[in-house]
Symmetry: C2
């Protein structure tokens, strides 16, 4: 092999893998000009190499045997795009141990097996790159690692799940309820048949783990922080908070440092309408972060999809080709949980929705309980009686301790006049 | 010297230079952890080393002699922050020839002397980095160079001058006229006493040259493209286009490729209110770009200021320390003007403001001239007579050739009933 050629092997010829092949076919000249070397996608491995992918590929490159990539000494970069935990983990570890650089979009694997993967890469003096694992094609991780590296990152607020954002956008713009918006997302191919991974916040949580690692150098396991989805959000929450309060609801992954304590959490959040994150709509992603020197920065783009993700995968390949010896210094090898703030210790403003009997003393009882728990009310709105039983009550609190609020809501929910479990949505501070 | 130490020299101890010193003082540990080496700002050169900068610095590091940086063999990275053409050019060239990497925020110099600076860096196998030259701390250039490098960039739309954006934001949000908004910008220190460099678009043009180089690999000299500022924009333009048409006016630097022809231009542009760029307000910068794989991406942040710019300068230093051998492949060494589209060949929708006598045939005459030049009108609005002479007429055209529009407006301006020179503002296509 010519030393001016780089051989790459692709494991996983699915949607993103096909995008990678398409993009190499289309932009090979451009990429070769930028890196000053020839690039060659030497082997493509998948269990299914028969189904046509609608992309031009030399059939001799196709194989069902992963060792055609992992054992080929000419291949120096392995692109893993099969997703999931196994056999992806074995493939990645084997590639690293064979002295190959690895590019992956596998957020689930990184979020769970971070320590082992990074340690293996470091021991074998090769690189692992994963720009595509968060925010699709948005140049986010590389920016955190390099351009913004002189900053202490103070906070990261990310709309990093396109499915949830599409559903919330439809609910907001078209007044749909959750189930109807979900159905539309499924029809458009933006949501899985079992949507819980996206709408319950787990996908956001996995990506947030990676952002927390790059932004704060801390590895927080997923079971250690609060993860809450959007399925309990109703059109009336959306309408009331938008029309009366000027807030837009988004599912946010939040990681921020406050007085040396790290807050990591995923939940729907009310964002002031004039905040840039409130304008991130549809399947788009937006990541707003603050550094001690740079101040606020936002990045916006497509967080998923074949070609945007392929853009990030090949961006990583270019980065590795132009800097194969780069050392990775990614946080501590062990989980560092000492600094993680417990969820009940966070301070926030809250929106609360209650459903109560339309009886004279009910507001008095509620405000009494809130007051007992040191929670002061910024605004309250009681709607006219609807045709059903009970009236909705919407409240916004001043900043309060989550623990106090949860205790107060537990007591409020026990009141005879309260007809449904209360709903709370946290409000973004700005 | 320890091989695990990197010595840097700073030329220019002004606002940004002071920010760099502050940021090193504050975040030295963090940066050293990330690059795995000790960093040492060995020398700081300025003509004035007496005036206190409000930052802690060892007085032995200060010098008025630039050769204390340029001739010191232990210094491997030179940070040039004096700005302007000379002596900055001499200092940079000398540093490069001495085998030192250079980090600069000097957009004016890069835009004018690009070829010489890049060629000198390449000949001497050292790097020149200039993230701070466009968009302050926004991780823009590095993203174009690496994470997005697998894309053919199709378009770049940048709000890259904070002064002009602050003035337009004030005019829009507070109904001020240009002069009053400028005065407020000057009072806040956002505009110079002679503001023409910012408000007439020249600063945007210099930055756009750099973006065009990184995005399209083409070096277009400043006298080769259209540069138009914002001083002719009136509150009535802003109010009418916002209330009646839903557009926000921004000063944009535009570079885009259409059928292998490059359009490069700077002018105020009407942007649909729902477009993310329309929400980039105050002194903030926003750069919206489209790549053939990644689709649209936007980056947002502070485009100026001591600390955001220092963040970019030190990000460049970190990048160089972790990859000193990286080859730069930045476009052709010579201006490549063959592909540049002439301004009169662009296609756009236009907003037109006229002032005419309130006489019966005037609209008929105007629409006749437009029609003769193949320009069709999307909407027209004639306002009630004001107390002065004449009435304002606002028009929006369908897409038209700039050449046709200019010829038509020239004829319209010659009509007896037209009282003032017409104003046109181009409308962003989406």
């Amino acid at each position: 092999m010519d030393k001016h050629s780089i051989n790459m092997g692709l494991i996983g010829f699915g949607t993103i893998g096909t995008g990678v092949v398409k993009l190499i076919n289309a932009n090979k000249d451009l990429i070769e000009k930028k890196v000053g070397k020839n690039i060659n996608l030497k082997k493509i491995v998948d269990l299914d190499i028969e189904t046509p992918r609608g992309v031009e590929v030399d059939s001799k490159k196709l194989s069902t045997n992963v060792n055609d990539v992992l054992e080929d000494e000419e291949i120096s970069i392995v692109i893993e795009l099969i997703g999931g935990y196994q056999p992806a983990l074995d493939f990645i570890l084997k590639a690293l141990k064979k002295g190959k650089h690895v590019v992956t979009a596998n957020k689930a694997l990184l979020a769970k097996h971070w320590e082992e993967i990074i340690a293996t890469a470091q021991e074998n003096k090769v690189r692992i790159a994963f720009e595509a694992s968060v925010g699709g094609g948005i140049p986010l991780l590389e920016s955190l690692n390099e351009s913004l590296a002189a900053n202490h990152i103070q906070s990261i607020y990310g709309i990093i799940n396109g499915t949830a954002n599409y559903i919330l956008t439809k609910m907001t713009q078209n007044g749909l309820d959750f189930n109807l918006a979900l159905k539309q997302a499924q029809e458009k191919g933006y949501a899985e048949q079992d949507p819980s991974f996206d709408v319950e916040g787990y996908d956001t949580a996995q990506k947030l783990i990676i952002l927390t690692l790059l932004g704060f150098g801390e590895y927080i396991e997923q079971n250690k922080f609060h993860v809450e989805g959007i399925s309990h959000i109703t059109p009336e929450d959306i309408i009331f908070t938008l029309k009366e309060l000027g807030y837009v609801i988004k599912l946010l992954g939040i990681a921020r440092k406050i007085e040396d304590q790290l807050e990591v959490r995923v939940h729907p959040t009310l964002i002031p309408q004039e905040h840039l994150l409130a304008s991130v709509n549809g399947v788009f992603n937006g990541i707003y972060l603050e550094g001690d020197a740079v101040g606020p920065v936002m990045m916006y783009g497509q967080g998923a999809g074949s070609m945007p993700t392929a853009s990030a995968v090949l961006g990583d390949c270019i980065n590795i080709i132009s800097n194969p010896q780069k050392e990775m210094i990614y946080g501590p090898p062990k989980p560092a949980l000492s600094s993680l703030k417990n969820m009940d210790q966070i301070l926030s403003k809250y929106y609360i929705r209650l459903k109560a009997l339309d009886s004279p003393g009910v507001l008095h009882s509620i405000s009494g309980i809130l007051s007992e728990h040191d929670i002061s009310i910024e605004s309250v709105s009681q709607r006219k009686k609807s045709n059903g039983l009970g009236v909705p009550i919407f409240m916004v609190t001043h900043k309060a301790l989550e623990k106090d609020l949860i205790q107060a809501l537990t007591k409020i929910d026990e009141l005879e006049e309260i007809l449904e479990k209360s709903v709370l949505i946290r409000i973004l501070e700005t």
